[in-house]
């Protein structure tokens, strides 16, 4: 899986989590939706770790080196946006 594919998979898991999160705001006792949320959360964690191991930190605290977080490209820069 290349960088773009991995990022797409990660974003898909996050998208599913986010939609379930908003559904759970108005259906807070729906256990099936909650377990689905946990399923995608687990998937997100695995993909996030794989992405960060290969391509650098997605959040500041995901790395021990502050310089690594500052490395280009940022998402609004040509290469970052194309990922």
């Amino acid at each position: 899986m290349n960088r773009e594919e991995l990022l797409r998979k990660l974003s898909s898991a996050q998208f599913a989590m986010w939609e379930l999160h908003m559904y759970l705001d108005t259906h807070p006792t729906d256990a099936q939706a909650m377990s689905l949320y946990r399923k995608y959360e687990k998937k997100r964690n695995e993909l996030k770790k794989e992405y960060e191991d290969r391509y650098g930190p997605l959040t500041f605290n995901a790395s021990d080196k502050a310089a690594e977080w500052l490395e280009n490209p940022w998402p609004w820069e040509a290469e970052g946006g194309r990922d």
Binding site: S11, D25, T59, W69, P75, W76, G81, R82, D83
Partner: protein, 89 residues
């Protein structure tokens, strides 16, 4: 509280930079019906919302709209970069 991830939710790539279109895009960011205003409206409305579910929902929708702020600015940045490269601005 805001947690930032160094990526876009969806990739953006401008094939043909267009200054007129860039103007429309930047107004989608900070203009009268832009994402910036929309996100702040949701996030402000939640303070007077009496129902817990809807306080949660307004918080989340306001957060969701905030996530879209990079979308107008990313193509805008890419357009500016292309114009600079071509010596147009």
């Amino acid at each position: 509280m805001w947690n930032y991830e160094k990526k876009l939710q969806y990739p953006v790539k401008i094939k043909n930079p267009n200054p007129k279109y860039a103007q429309i895009i930047i107004s989608q960011y900070g203009g009268p019906d832009g994402e910036l205003g929309a996100s702040l409206r949701y996030l402000s409305q939640r303070y007077t919302m009496p129902y817990a579910e809807l306080k949660g929902l307004l918080t989340d929708i306001g957060t969701e709209v905030s996530k879209w702020h990079p979308y107008p600015s990313t193509p805008h940045k890419q357009c500016i970069f292309e114009f600079q490269k071509n010596g147009d601005i």
